[in-house]
C-alpha cells in the first residue's frame, strides 16, 4: 500500500491486517483484507449494506473470530498478534487502549446509570479509586463533548439521541485510547445533529491524536472525517486511497457509482 502523507512516512503501522478472512457464506463477510492503520489517522471503510464493513471492524477489534489471516497491533507493550492473544489480554486492550463507539448509543451505554457513572466506568475499570477525581474527569468530559455538566447525575435514557451519542464518545475517550472503532457513529441521528456530532468527533480526534477506524455507508460522513478510504463490496476491498482522491477520481466502477450517488443539496 502506498504511503499517503509525510506524517505517516517511515512509521510502523499501529494496526496491520494481512489476508484477513472471515466468511459466513460465499462472499458474505470479509476476505483477503490487507490494510494498515497509522497512529493518528482516520481510516474510513465505506460500502453498501452487507458488503462486510462491520464484520471487518469487529475482526479488527478482536470481537469477532477470524477464519484466516492476521491482525497485528502495535500495543503500548509491543507488537501483538491480535487473534493469538489470550482472551484476558484482548479484553484488556479493548478496555484500556481502545474505544468502541456503537451506532446505537443504547448498546454502548448503561442507560440506568447516571451520565457521570457512564463516563467514569473506564477509569474505575483501570483502577481509579478516588471518587473526587472520577467526578472531576466526568465533569470535564461532559463539557468537552458539549453536554450540560448539570446533567451529570441524570440517566442517559432521559437524553436525546445526539446527547447519548456525545456521552458515548466521552465515555470512550476519557481513558485516552490510542485507537477508536466507530460503527456508523451518526447513523441514527437527524442531519443537523449529525453535523454537530461529526464536528465534535473531528475536533476531538485531532486534539487527542487518536487513530480511528470508521465504518459508514454514508460517503458524506467519510468525507468529513476520514483521511483515507477503503471501499468494500461483496466482502472484498475494491479500492483504497486518500479520501479526496477517491471522491474526486474514483477508479472502480462501483466506487464511481457510489460517489455519483451522493445527494447534493
Amino acid at each position: 500500500m502506498m504511503m499517503q502523507t509525510d506524517l505517516i512516512l517511515n512509521q510502523q503501522p499501529l494496526m496491520q491486517a494481512t489476508q484477513l478472512t472471515r466468511l459466513y457464506g460465499i462472499n458474505k463477510g470479509c476476505q483477503q483484507i490487507d490494510l494498515e492503520l497509522y497512529a493518528g489517522e482516520v481510516l474510513g471503510i465505506v460500502g453498501e449494506s452487507g458488503s462486510g464493513k462491520s464484520t471487518l471492524l469487529r475482526c479488527l477489534a478482536g470481537i469477532e473470530a477470524i477464519d484466516s489471516g492476521t491482525v497485528d497491533y502495535d500495543s503500548s507493550a509491543g507488537l501483538k498478534r491480535l487473534h493469538d492473544l489470550a482472551e484476558s489480554e484482548r479484553r484488556r486492550l479493548i478496555r484500556q487502549e481502545w474505544g468502541f463507539i456503537q451506532q446505537n448509543p443504547r448498546d454502548g451505554l448503561h442507560l440506568d446509570m447516571s451520565a457521570g457513572a457512564n463516563i467514569g466506568e473506564r477509569l474505575m475499570a483501570q483502577g481509579e479509586r478516588h471518587y473526587g477525581k472520577i467526578r472531576q474527569q466526568a465533569l470535564d468530559w461532559m463539557q468537552r463533548v458539549e453536554l450540560d455538566p448539570k446533567r451529570i447525575d441524570d440517566k442517559p435514557k432521559t437524553f436525546s439521541g445526539g446527547m447519548q451519542q456525545r456521552l458515548q464518545i466521552a465515555r470512550n475517550l476519557v481513558s485516552g485510547p490510542r485507537l477508536l472503532f466507530m460503527d456508523e457513529p451518526t447513523g441514527g441521528l437527524d442531519v443537523s445533529v449529525q453535523a454537530r456530532v461529526l464536528d465534535l468527533i473531528r475536533k476531538l480526534v485531532r486534539e487527542l491524536n487518536v487513530a480511528v477506524v470508521l465504518v459508514t455507508h454514508d460517503i458524506g460522513v467519510a468525507r468529513i472525517l476520514a483521511d483515507r478510504l477503503i471501499v468494500m463490496r461483496d466482502s472484498r476491498i475494491i479500492e483504497t486511497g486518500l479520501t479526496d482522491q477517491i471522491l474526486e477520481d474514483p477508479q472502480a466502477p462501483y466506487t464511481q457509482l457510489l460517489v455519483s450517488s451522493i445527494l447534493r443539496v
Binding site: 479484553r91 478496555r95 466506568e121 474505575m124 471518587y131
Partner: protein, 281 residues
Amino acid sequence: MNEYNFGYLDEHTKRIIRRSLLKAVSIPGYQVPFPGREMPMPYGWGTGGIQVTASVIGHNDCLKVIDQGADDTTNAVSIRNFFKRVCGIKTTEKTSEASIIQTRHRIPETALRAGQILVYQVPIPEPLRFIEPRETETRTMHAMQEYGVMHLKLYEDIAQFGHISTAYAYPVRVNGRYIMDPSPIPKFDNPKMHQMPALQLFGAGREKRIYAVPPYTDVVSLDFEDHPFEIQQWDESCALCGSEVSFLDEMITDNEGSRLYLCSDSEYCATRTEIMQEGAA
C-alpha cells in the same frame, strides 16, 4: 423421623453438595454451581442454606437458626423444626453452643469461634448481575477479574446521596481475588466476615450456587479512597439490654410515632438482659 433419610437429602445428593462445598472452600468467593434439589418449601425460604446445612450436619451437631438476627421468627422456627424432625439433632438458641448456625440477613453479635460453621441463605449470589444480566458474561468478568464496574454502584450512591448508601449486600473482595455478594446482611456485619475463625458457607437454592469463605480469610469491603467503607451507627442504645455496639432494629410503638430501638440479635439481647437482671436481684 424414620420416613426420611438423615438430613432429608439422600446420600448421593449430600455427596454432590459436599464436593461443591470443597471446591468452594478451595476457591474462596468463587460461585460453584450445584444440582440444587426441590425442598419441601418454596424458593426464597432458604432452600439453598438448608441444603448446605443438610449436607454438613452430623448426629453430634447442635443447630441454631436465625432470621434477621432472631431465633423466634417464623422462618427460623420452621427451619429449626424441620431439622429436628429429619435429623433428630439438638438445637439451641445460644450462639456459643451451636456448631452450625444457619442464618438469613445477619451474623450473630457474639463472636464465632474456630470449629463453628455459619451457613448463609442467599437470594442472589451474583454481585455483578445488576450491571450485567448475562451469566456467561459475569463469569468471564470474574475469571478476568474485571471488577471496575462494581464501583459504579458505589459511585452512583455518592453522586446521589453524598455517601455510599448501600446498606446491605455490600460487595466484598475475598482473599484478594473474587468479588462476592455477602448475601443481604447489613454492611454492619461485613467486618465480622474478615478473618473470621468460623467457616462461612453460602447456599443459593433458586440460583443453584454455593460459595464459601474459609476460616481466617481476608474479606474486604469495596470503597473509594475519599469515601472509605463505614458501618451503620446509632445515637440510641437497645431499649432492653442497653447495648451500644449491636445492630439495632427500629420499632414503632404507637400511632404518635414513638419508637424504640432493639437489638436485632435476640439471643445476644436476652443473654445481656438476664445478666443485668441477675445483677439487679
